[in-house]
């Protein structure tokens, strides 16, 4: 798994050649590496945007209106949850509990958390990320 994380850091996602490289380095088959990668939500087998936006929609966040936050992101970015914007900047997903329930709604941008997010905050967040002062690419 650390090898898959490394490969994903380098490529941005896990294309077949990345899985082959990992397999070769660890003396496994690419199929085995694919099987492992496809089990976990954080490994990407398709290209994703520079900013990965994960909106928690589990119970505590849903009680705080996470549905509206997700819908606001969909409107602002012009993609549905599960999609990536055409310019390759943003990927949006509806995600499972991120562990910030006391400060709902939680939105993770490249796995850096923002808490107490409301639908009204969404345009500002997107503008900030478009301006390049966002969470950065380090995650």
């Amino acid at each position: 798994m650390p090898a898959l994380h490394l490969a994903q850091d380098r490529y941005g996602w896990l294309p077949p050649e990345a899985l082959r490289e990992v397999a070769e380095a660890l003396d496994l088959t690419p199929a085995y590496c694919y099987a492992v990668a496809s089990f976990y939500d954080m490994y990407h087998l398709e290209p994703v945007g520079r900013y990965e936006i994960a909106v928690c929609t589990n119970v505590s966040c849903a009680l705080a209106g996470a549905q509206d936050v997700l819908a606001a992101f969909e409107r602002e970015l012009g993609v549905q949850a599960g999609g990536t914007t055409e310019d390759g900047e943003f990927s949006l997903s509806s995600f499972e509990c991120l562990g910030g329930c006391g400060w709902a709604t939680v939105v993770a941008v490249n796995w850096r958390y923002r808490e107490h997010v409301t639908a009204g905050d969404v345009p500002g967040i997107v503008a900030e990320l478009r301006g390049g002062e966002g969470a950065g690419d380090d995650a």
């Binding site: 089990f39 929609t57 849903a62 549905q67």
Partner: protein, 455 residues
């Protein structure tokens, strides 16, 4: 006497100082327990853990001392002994381990070293949830500091004890919080649970004896060594010793973590500490221990936050995640979102869980859409019944128990969805429009992989 109010034991000093810094942690007595413990006989340490009455803080509540006593002694096994810390916190509603790692990472490290000494382990793994990027940074920085000071590594604090700590990052899978799935994942495989026996104490990671404990459990160990097991056991109530971090969320004014003595009334957490429900709305239900436990109704809000009281009320303290639900929420929508979670996270190994969670989601979706027929509530309960106890790990039960409890306790509301041909909230429920998680690897197939349940 009933315990009452905040009682900070683990988080003492964490408000006034930045305990992520080693020097600050040492200034309030940090790492003193480690020095004492390393000069104490391992058997005595395990005795002290037993005497403390400390029960696992992950969810199952198994006594930690007893678990540690199952580990063979180093001279009884040809394999190395390992400690694994479960930091895969992902039970919906739970966010306490995250706070502990962010605020008192050195207590976690100190607890690891002491526990390693107690069981004769020289290597410890911290299985950290992949999403916790900031927590990883904080833990890694604290680990570096502990290394520099000689609290971790070879020859700790002038003794011949060696402990290496490895932080292993997960990659987004709830099931890896289940101990044997966690071990599989740690070994680089798909996180699918193993059948037990053999138990991890005999054959855990790399087929070697392994003790697995939750972050909060481990972080409590230095406190127990510091005050002595018997003294610690005086905190809390019978069978539920000590303090615990409760994660309060949902429809409350002040969500957050509250460290309370076990036995404190649930009402006090919600109303006195949490400020009650916003805008004076009425309480409808409380999930007392994370989304996998049976729900409590508003009438049961005087139940005490301890293991036995919760068991008597037909539910569990679980991970200590208290989710407050006010009158605006539709319980079918709640059931649907909870079922969607477990369907998404089912690892697919056992048929009752893999298929059953899917059935649950489909029936609940029909109920919410007003398309369910008479008798489908019983079908739903039947599905729950067929999952319960029929799977290798508790994930299936964790899906079936809450859903069955929602139907049992809010049957009338469920029935109205059938009788009235739709949701009686008419779009006004606070959970209106709940959205399922994205299936990360099949997003492009969305809508195409639904299998109808009725021929």
């Amino acid at each position: 006497m009933t315990p009452s109010g905040l009682h900070e034991v683990l988080l003492r000093h964490a408000d006034e100082r930045d305990l992520t810094k080693r020097a600050e942690y040492e200034a309030v007595g940090g790492y003193r327990a480690l020095t004492t413990a390393l000069r104490t006989d391992p058997g005595e340490l395990v005795e002290s853990l037993l005497a403390s009455g400390l029960r696992g803080r992950g969810g199952a509540g198994f006594p930690m001392g007893r678990k540690a006593s199952f580990i063979p002694k180093p001279d009884q096994t040809p394999n190395p002994i390992y400690l694994t810390v479960n930091a895969d916190e992902s039970e919906p509603g739970t966010f306490k381990d995250r706070e502990l790692m962010l605020r008192i990472p050195h207590a976690v490290i100190e607890g690891i070293v002491i526990t390693c000494h107690a069981i004769g382990a020289e290597t410890a793994f911290v299985y950290l949830r992949g999403e916790y990027a900031t927590e990883f940074d904080v833990m890694a920085a604290a680990l570096d500091e502990a290394h520099e000071a000689g609290y971790v590594g070879p020859g700790i604090a002038g003794t011949d004890t060696n402990v290496t700590i490895v932080i292993h990052r997960g990659a987004g899978a709830y099931i890896c919080g289940e101990e044997t799935a966690l071990l599989e994942s740690l070994e680089g495989k798909r996180g699918q649970p193993r059948s037990k026996p053999p138990f991890p104490a005999i054959s855990g990671v790399y087929a070697s004896p392994t003790l697995i404990n939750n972050v909060e459990t481990i972080a409590t160990v230095p406190t127990i060594v510091g005050m002595g097991g018997e003294e610690y056991a005086k905190l809390g109530v019978e069978n539920s010793a000590g303090t615990r971090l409760f994660s309060l969320s949902g429809n409350v004014v002040k969500g957050g973590n509250y460290e309370l003595e076990l036995g404190t009334p649930l009402r006090e957490l919600i109303y006195d500490l949490g400020g009650g429900i916003p805008d004076g709305r009425a309480l409808k239900a409380v999930i007392p221990g994370g989304s996998s436990v049976p729900v409590l109704t508003a009438d049961e809000v005087d139940t005490a936050l301890d293991f036995d009281a919760m068991a008597q009320a037909g539910t569990m303290l679980g991970s200590g995640a208290v989710i407050v639900i006010d009158e605006r929420a539709c319980m079918v929508q709640l059931g649907l979102r909870v079922a969607q979670f477990y369907m998404h996270e089912s690892c697919g190994k056992c048929t009752p869980c893999r298929e059953g969670t899917r059935w649950m989601v489909q029936i609940l979706r029909k109920l919410e859409a007003g398309e369910a027929e008479q008798g489908e509530l019983d079908l739903l309960l039947n599905v729950c019944d067929r999952i319960l106890g029929n799977c290798l790990c508790p994930l299936g039960d964790a899906a079936a128990m809450p859903i069955a409890s929602y139907v049992a306790k809010f049957r009338e509301e469920y029935q109205r969805h059938i009788d009235e041909g739709g949701c009686p909230f008419g779009g006004e429920s606070s959970l209106e429009g709940v959205v399922a998680p994205v299936d990360q690897h099949h997003a492009h197939l969305r809508g195409q992989i639904e299998v109808p349940i009725h021929a």
